[in-house]
């Protein structure tokens, strides 16, 4: 168990000029579950592989504990990694797969068997120890990959989209188990995913990357309530935040005829900021009622416990769509006219993505 630190770590793939990971600064505390999230190609996997030692670090450094591992080969970093396709050794049994790392460390056979058994017990794999990976289901393979990681008590767990090959139901279940397992073992974990639901539900903190640049790293709740910039605002949250471009003519920002309430610090910033803005409101902070901005319902997404209405409204003489959360089992139908009001916090950004206020 150890803390992990990236210091201006940069990876530039040979033959390219734009860094895949650009001067990443990130402190991960001992025992923390940190999730790296972002769209494909944002550099999250590269960042993880830099920590694993599978990717050369062109500039900057990476520390595990107080050890500078920038130039340390993977086999000497004392880490364990779970791969997206699990990368189980096909020629070995489950037990041999899980014991492979211990064997490389020269752990005696009996001790190895004991530790493998213990890990198998934790993961419910005891009856499969003699099987080969090809005779296991996807979920079982995923567990073996987990078992291979936990059996060696590494300083850091690295996970590269470990749930993305499972079907939806199993993924949700495994997500919970994994969170629980990490909490019990207390091992520092770096977890890569493109799925922001996984990021929000699993991470103690979440680091959002875009084009190799760290956008924000914070607790999931803070990320949701105070996105540091326009990209994070649009990326975190499902359905996504409503983002509306607003051209200003002196007065306070408004969506259509609907005036956008802002906090005093945003109002203060607005005074010194000229030009256009982007206003963000989450679907749950919009309400339908008797009064407000009129609009036509285009689509109703009924989820049972709640419903999302896609409403077309007039904004600066252009039709735009807003997503509004309504109560489940809603009476509202397609083509109905509704009135939208803002009831909750709003977010204001400059067109280049900077957040106003705090």
């Amino acid at each position: 168990m150890s803390e992990v630190r990236y210091e201006k770590a940069t990876r530039i793939y040979p033959g390219t000029e734009v860094p895949a990971v650009n001067e990443l600064d990130l402190d991960i505390a001992d025992g923390e579950f940190l999730v790296l999230v972002g769209p494909s190609g944002c550099g999250k996997s590269t960042a993880l592989r830099m920590l694993a030692g599978l990717e050369f670090i062109d500039h900057g450094s990476v520390y595990i504990g107080d050890r500078d591992v920038t130039l340390t080969p993977p086999q000497d970093r004392d880490i364990a990694m779970v791969f997206q396709n699990y990368a189980l050794y096909p020629n070995m049994t489950v037990a041999a797969n899980m014991g492979f790392a211990l064997k490389q460390q020269g752990v005696p056979k009996e001790e190895r068997a004991k530790q493998v058994k213990e890990a198998a017990r934790i993961l419910g794999l005891e009856e499969f120890l003699d099987r080969k990976p090809k005779n296991l289901s996807g979920g079982q393979r995923q567990r073996v990959a987990m078992g291979r990681a936990i059996v060696r008590h590494p300083q850091v767990f690295l996970m590269d989209e470990p749930l993305s090959n499972l079907d939806a139901k199993l993924r949700v279940q495994t997500r919970t188990e994994l969170t629980d397992l990490q909490a019990r073992l207390g091992v520092t974990t770096v977890y890569v995913t493109h799925d922001q639901v996984e990021a929000m539900t699993m991470g103690h903190r979440v680091a959002v990357l875009k084009d190799g640049v760290l956008q924000q790293v914070d607790k999931p709740r803070t990320l949701y309530s105070h996105p540091a910039n326009l990209f994070v605002a649009g990326f975190i949250g499902s359905p996504a935040m409503n983002l509306v471009e607003v051209s200003r003519n002196g007065g306070p920002p408004s969506i259509g005829s609907l005036q956008v309430p802002v906090t005093p610090d945003v109002a203060h910033d607005l005074e010194s900021t000229g030009g256009d803005l982007v206003v963000g409101v989450r679907p749950e902070h919009l309400t339908v009622g008797a009064e407000g901005l009129p609009g036509k319902v285009i689509v109703v997404e009924e989820l049972g416990s709640e419903a999302y209405l896609h409403v077309q409204v007039d904004h600066q003489h252009e039709p735009i769509q807003l997503v509004v959360r309504a109560a489940g089992e809603t009476e509202i139908d397609r083509d109905d006219t509704v009135h939208i009001a803002i009831d909750g916090p709003t977010h204001v950004f400059t067109p280049d993505g900077r957040r106003l206020g705090t």
Partner: protein, 284 residues
């Protein structure tokens, strides 16, 4: 319910039966000379030569004769032991050298690996006959003429490019994550190769080894040029049964059967390994 057992998608039954018959016919035509050779080996000289018979009293006399009577200077035992050494050692050497080469051309490719790969195959462009004179002179100067060592060296060199090419393509099939996983699990280079890569490419390894064995076992030109007196191999022993005093077809057939047998056995053994490797489901 409709029964589709035995149905062929997109083709009639008659057509597929015809195709099957044709395949068998072609296979039999190709196999017939081999079959005739084996048959001849068990005949008296008269039955094989002057008046070829399909039905005859089988005898092992020809086998006894080719194995016991040293025809000319080269004996059966000597030729076989020379061949076994030259083929066995050269094949082992080829694999020992080709495995690391294949690793550094596929799994962790060196810079300009395509050029390296091309260089390997380019060494096969020159016909052996064009190189035989310098080879002979070098062998003479090193006092390696008529030794097993010269054949071991040349067979290794001869098969190495092919083995590197074959193994490289098999290694390239190994999922990259498996090698990375083994690295993270703490395996050094040797551990990665022996515990992870080789078990997965075992069928390919067997196929490569088999080809090396076949090519080296059947090699005639180098052996006959460089080792005419000592260190001669089985193909030369077979031709030593060709006589100017007449056609001893039965005897020659018996010698050929004996010369073929080890290769057939090697093929059979390699095939078992190949099937076992594939059945392991290693390569997705």
């Amino acid at each position: 319910m409709r029964d589709n057992t035995g149905a062929i998608v997109g083709g009639s039954r008659v057509k597929s039966t015809l195709l099957g018959l044709m395949t068998w016919a072609i296979a039999l035509i190709i196999f017939f000379p081999v079959f005739w050779m084996v048959l001849n080996g068990f005949k008296e000289e008269a039955d094989a030569n002057t008046n070829p018979k399909l039905f005859f009293d089988p005898t092992t006399a020809q086998f006894d004769e080719v194995t016991s009577n040293p025809a000319g200077l080269l004996g059966f035992g000597e030729a076989f032991s020379n061949s076994f050494w030259a083929v066995g050692i050269s094949t082992i050497l080829v694999l020992v050298l080709a495995i690391p080469a294949a690793y550094s051309l596929s799994i962790k490719p060196v810079a300009k690996w395509r050029d390296v790969l091309f260089f390997f195959i380019s060494t096969k462009f020159l016909p052996v006959v064009a190189a035989i004179l310098p080879l002979w002179i070098i062998a003479r100067d090193l006092e390696l003429l008529n030794t097993r060592l010269i054949l071991i060296i040349l067979y290794t060199a001869m098969n190495l490019p092919l083995a590197v090419w074959m193994l490289r393509s098999f290694f390239a099939e190994v999922p990259k994550e498996l090698v990375e996983a083994s690295q993270i699990d703490g395996a050094n280079l040797r551990g990665q190769i022996t515990s992870v890569i080789l078990p997965i490419v075992a069928p390919g390894l067997a196929a490569t080894a088999l080809l090396c064995v076949i090519f080296a076992w059947n090699e005639f030109f180098l052996a006959v040029q460089l080792n005419p007196v000592d260190g001669s191999t089985v193909p030369i022993w077979v031709t030593s049964n060709v006589s100017t005093r007449g056609n001893f077809l039965a005897k020659l057939s018996a010698a050929s059967v004996l010369a073929t047998l080890p290769v057939v056995l090697a093929g059979w053994a390699a095939q078992k390994r190949m099937i076992r490797g594939l059945a392991m489901g290693a390569i997705k």
